[in-house]
Symmetry: C2
């Protein structure tokens, strides 16, 4: 099975979103996913441990991008400027395909308790990765936790706006706008 | 099966924490949980849909307490003062039993991916309930979301401190302290 499978991961993600939407998450098997993607089951398992994880394909890569972005911010950056750099690195990686299947992905996840829980875990995992990256820069708690929470919330809100049909703004700009708005809200709490 | 079962819920929670800790979550059945608690399987299913939910017994009650606390704050309260009232209502409900089994509960949840995901979902559900309660008071987003995030984070950190062996502070005081500290951190972001 050493043949070249261009975009196998993306094809599996698209097949999953299609099939889960058409026939339900519970009724879809790994074999069906592989077949729809034009791949073998063996190839499937080279990329994902099970059908659920296909929907959360991005978690590790997203954490890596956020962390690398935070690390790349200048030494003089404030915690929130470092988070902004992390968000930039993450949001710049999103593709038109991800925007296209975003609403269907959201609706599959929303329709199934197990997927909603997995999704909540992804959000906490991203916040933890961002917090760690801030600790690496010497930012202490609770400022690191707080700045990370703002970053994840900004990402989440911006992603929802980005996939809306009427939107014409790029994801990075939406995320920076939301982060600025949350920063202002944090100040307004006083 | 209409006999009186004093503290059936609490007995099931304690049985679950004991058995999951002794023999593992996967190896424990509902029948074993019921037996350890001195109850029948029928009684178990009157209280919980499955063995997993025993560990998250408090979610709805916690959301209800938070929400009622927020609603009870004076009309002049700031969003964060309303969150503080919610935290007071929630944290005052915790018992010495919950403190006693807290560390074992945490360790069972930490040891199992499915339970970590369910726990992350509980945290997001509490934040959503708190956000809704603030919306009811006319607090707009993103201030409502932000204040709710601070509240849930303060609760989580305070709970960790409260169950530490050396702690001698009550949970409500720890939670208010953490909320104040997060509020200061929010101001310091500017």
């Amino acid at each position: 099975m050493a043949r070249w499978e261009p975009n196998a991961r993306l094809r599996l993600v698209q097949a999953a979103i299609d099939l889960f939407g058409e026939q339900g998450y519970d009724n879809t098997t790994v074999s069906q996913l592989a077949e729809r993607a034009g791949l073998t089951k063996t190839t499937f398992f080279r990329h994902f441990p099970d059908k659920r994880e296909v929907l959360f394909a991005g978690q590790e890569e997203h954490a890596r991008l956020l962390t690398a972005g935070v690390a790349s911010a200048p030494a003089t950056a404030t915690p929130l400027e470092a988070v902004a750099a992390g968000l930039d690195a993450l949001t710049s990686s999103f593709t038109p395909e991800q925007r296209e299947f975003g609403p269907r992905l959201r609706s599959v996840v929303a329709g199934h308790a197990e997927l909603r829980e997995r999704s909540a875990f992804k959000e906490l995992a991203l916040a933890a990765a961002l917090t760690d990256a801030l600790h690496q820069r010497g930012v202490p708690d609770p400022i690191a936790c707080l700045a990370a929470d703002l970053g994840v919330r900004a990402f989440h809100t911006a992603f929802t706006e980005w996939i809306a049909p009427a939107n014409d703004q790029p994801l990075p700009a939406l995320a920076q706008h939301r982060l600025t708005e949350l920063h202002r809200a944090a100040t307004a709490l006083s």
